[in-house]
């Protein structure tokens, strides 16, 4: 998918997980960087992760743009090429043309065709050329940087429907292309970029900022980020409007991605965050297989008379002890298998599911879907399953992390607990906590410790089983089947 990513030195933050690469300028708030990082992490393995994250952020921005002047770019794979969302004063060079959101502040969604690479950074800054023999490569994590150069593997370079680029000869040529000299970036207020983007159908400057990107709701995949282009520009760097997302079995993203602050349709993004697809509703108006349609009953609108239900085809629960049922959307991690096929944390000597002994070294380092990592026990007796991350706070449901399906809400009202107080994340086999810079703070009382210690804002701290976590005055305990001592990662 990605051959390599080269980070440009300078101010800002570069994030990469799997196929998702992000740059944010230094003015991005820690909350924004945290949100982008978590999004990248959750969608790292998705072959459509670029499209999913771009669509998701576009939905967030369509509702509210909390940091309109901040420059950031997200980029990743999609069915048709490299999906991107550019926000604020940023620029991207794909080997043939410059792209930049106009007007700024504003944002732009586009499908890019790296020829052979994409260079991203703050608008108006000079871009380096990529030396073909450079060994620099950023594989995963969050590092300082003023931008990045993304070099896809050859089969990903020219998959968009840009008419001039679809030929095999063109692909081969691009794949073998040497390092290119990048022409000077246009100044942010020069007409060149404006003209180019206007040709590509970017919304006119008169539109309000929140909608300054492009209307997305009714557009099929390949046209995301561009208005229906009456005159496809071969050099515009965007897929022609006539191309549609015909991926079998996949609904247009606008039907499956969650909406902000209200009812959510489950979709790939939610699944990536650990939502269980078994419980996801089918599209509205489409009955579940084997179940009768939900008909209005004789009384209140929308009621169902359950007395009238006859036999319904249903699959009985399995009998006996089978292998673990994978958690939908869970990360793939390395672990060990017990003799019955239950997936355990490395170093485990007895299966946490069936207690069978696991001989040391047997079936070690098997890759599998991460099982739940335990539970969080709140001081009010509520127990939450750790098969997904949580945002803890007094009103977490309105945070984009939750409304975007990247974390579940764990509502914990109390003195000094702020709306979005801290995040509980799952990382490999570890459970971590990150305080969101809350005034009341987040404190840990670890097993064997004699006192509470405060978590620094935005510092990621691993939780050992048995650790008490105080979000201001409210306490949550992490309980897990693993031993409390440090275990191999």
């Amino acid at each position: 998918m990605i051959e390599r990513v080269v980070v440009m030195p300078g101010p800002g933050t570069v994030i990469r997980y799997g196929g998702i690469v992000i740059w944010a300028d230094p003015s991005a708030s820690p909350a924004l960087v945290s949100f982008l990082t978590q999004s990248a992490r959750n969608l790292a393995a998705s072959t459509r992760g670029g499209r999913q994250i771009a669509d998701h952020i576009a939905e967030v921005l369509a509702n509210r743009d909390p940091e309109p002047g901040v420059a950031f770019v997200v980029m990743g794979p999609s069915d048709h090429g490299w999906a991107s969302l550019m926000h604020g004063p940023v620029q991207a060079w794909d080997g043939a043309q410059w792209l930049s959101p106009r007007p700024s502040p504003g944002w732009l969604q586009a499908i890019l065709t790296p020829q052979p690479s994409v260079t991203v950074g703050r608008a108006g800054t000079p871009m380096p050329t990529l030396h073909p023999d450079s060994m620099l490569d950023f594989e995963a994590g969050v590092v300082p940087g003023a931008g990045f150069v993304l070099v896809p593997t050859p089969d990903r370079r020219l998959r968009t429907g840009r008419p001039a680029d679809t030929g095999a000869a063109g692909a081969a040529e691009a794949a073998q292309a040497p390092a290119q000299a990048i022409p000077a970036a246009p100044a942010a207020d020069e007409d060149e970029a404006t003209e180019l983007l206007s040709t590509a159908g970017v919304a006119p400057a008169a539109q309000p900022v929140a909608a300054a990107g492009v209307a997305l709701a009714a557009q099929p995949d390949a046209t995301a980020g561009v208005a229906p282009a009456a005159q496809p520009d071969a050099a515009a760097g965007v897929a022609p409007a006539a191309e549609t997302d015909d991926t079998p079995g996949e609904a247009p993203a606008t039907q499956v991605l969650p909406a902000l602050g209200g009812a959510r349709a489950a979709g790939p993004l939610a699944a990536g965050a650990g939502a269980a697809p078994e419980s996801q509703p089918p599209p509205q108006g489409e009955p579940s297989p084997g179940l009768p349609p939900a008909v209005a009953g004789p009384g209140t609108l929308g009621s169902i008379d359950l007395r009238a239900v006859g036999a319904v085809p249903a699959t009985p629960l399995p009998i006996g002890v089978g292998p673990d049922k994978p958690v939908a959307g869970a990360a793939m991690v390395a672990g060990v298998l017990c003799p019955r096929g239950h997936f355990n944390r490395p170093g485990t000597t007895a299966c946490v599911r069936c207690s069978m002994a696991i001989p040391p070294g047997s079936a070690d380092n098997v890759s599998g879907s991460r099982p739940p990592l335990g539970v969080l026990v709140a001081d009010d007796g509520a127990v939450y399953r750790l098969d997904a991350g949580y945002l803890v706070g007094s009103d977490p449901v309105h945070d984009p992390t939750v409304s975007g399906g990247l974390a579940r809400p764990l509502e914990l009202p109390g003195d000094n607990v702020v709306a979005s107080h801290a995040e509980i994340r799952l990382h490999g086999w570890d459970v971590t906590v990150i305080d969101r810079g809350s005034p009341g703070g987040t404190h840990l009382f670890e097993p064997g410790a004699g006192e509470w210690t405060r978590v620094k804002p935005f510092e990621q701290r691993r939780l050992r089983p048995g650790t008490h976590v105080a979000f201001a005055q409210r306490i949550v305990t992490f309980a897990a089947p693993w031993i409390a001592e440090d275990t191999p990662r």
């Binding site: 209200g262 009812a263 959510r264 349709a265 939502a275 419980s279 509703p281 089918p282 509205q284 579940s288 179940l291 009768p292 939900a294 004789p298 009384g299 209140t300 609108l301 929308g302 009621s303 169902i304 008379d305 359950l306 007395r307 239900v309 006859g310 319904v312 249903a314 699959t315 009985p316 629960l317 399995p318 009998i319 006996g320 002890v321 019955r340 946490v352 599911r353 069936c354 099982p371 739940p372 335990g374 539970v375 026990v377 009010d380 007796g381 509520a382 127990v383 939450y384 399953r385 750790l386 098969d387 997904a388 949580y390 579940r408 809400p409 764990l410 048995g466 309980a479 897990a480 089947p481």
Partner: protein, 267 residues
């Protein structure tokens, strides 16, 4: 207190169970064509995206056809309670199995658990695991003991709300490690419930003084300890259901019910 839920007239509020849901004893509307017998109406907190999976689940439960499941009457939108749903189900005048209107002797309690196990088996056969079987989810009726529906709605990821150790003692430890409910977990909880009905002491030693969080940790890390003063046959059946290896437990709840039917309280 609400006076109406949809067109059901509230008679009284029912004490809360450990799922946090509010329940009301209500007079049903005439349109149901039922008699004036009160019904139980449960508020279900769920957002619009959760409606369809939840109603699908209830349709499956209603199709189970077991005489030992609480009969479900109607589910519908409850716009006065934040846009959730309401579930109307039969109300039992026989009380809960732990506090029945007509006292149960030992054999009566065994029969009640056998009935509940058959109800659980009916759920399992339509693909639903209960996940919260305990004395609060088994009610007495003219048809014998009935298993109530599993917890519905609530925040995503919520396993249970424990108000005290009694809410935790029947919870299968795997659920507190993050596992999903299953036949094996329900069999475990049925046996733990039976132990609570027949023994004077908790399944875990010392648990009676635990606050909820400590009780949860005890369930996760301690082994259950079956009361040796129970009749041998009963203790053996309970112990077999509490095996840490699920493969050693009765394979189905129906198998447990049959074993209970064959078990003598006298030994």
């Amino acid at each position: 207190m609400r006076s109406k839920i949809a067109d059901y007239r509230v008679i009284e509020v029912v004490p809360p169970a450990n799922d946090g849901a509010r329940r009301y004893l209500c007079r049903p509307p005439e349109r149901l064509g039922a008699d004036e017998e009160p019904v139980l109406v449960t508020e279900i907190s769920v957002d619009a995206a959760g409606w369809r999976p939840l109603t699908d689940l209830l349709v499956r439960l209603a199709s189970a056809g077991s005489a030992h499941l609480v009969r479900l009457l109607e589910v519908g939108p409850d716009p006065d309670a934040g846009g959730g749903l309401y579930l109307a189900s039969e109300a039992s005048a026989g009380g809960g199995v732990a506090d029945p209107a007509t006292p149960l002797d030992g054999p009566g309690r065994l029969r009640a658990l056998a009935d509940a196990a058959r109800g659980a088996h009916g759920m399992h056969e339509v693909g639903v695991a209960h996940g919260a079987i305990g004395p609060g989810s088994i009610v007495m009726s003219e048809r014998g003991a009935l298993l109530a529906p599993p917890p519905l709605g609530g925040p995503p990821g919520l396993v249970l709300r424990a108000g005290g150790w009694k809410d935790v003692v029947t919870v299968y430890p795997g659920l507190l490690r993050g596992e999903e409910p299953s036949r094996a977990s329900d069999v475990w909880s049925l046996a733990a419930t039976l132990h609570g009905l027949l023994s004077d002491r908790p399944l875990y030693r010392g648990m009676e003084s635990d606050p909820p969080v400590t009780a949860i940790q005890r369930v996760i890390f301690a082994r259950p300890d079956v009361d040796p003063s129970l009749p041998a046959g009963v203790a053996a059946t309970i112990a077999s259901c509490l095996e840490s290896d699920p493969a050693l437990r009765p394979a189905t709840a129906a198998e447990l019910a049959d074993r209970l039917d064959a078990t003598e309280m006298g030994g």
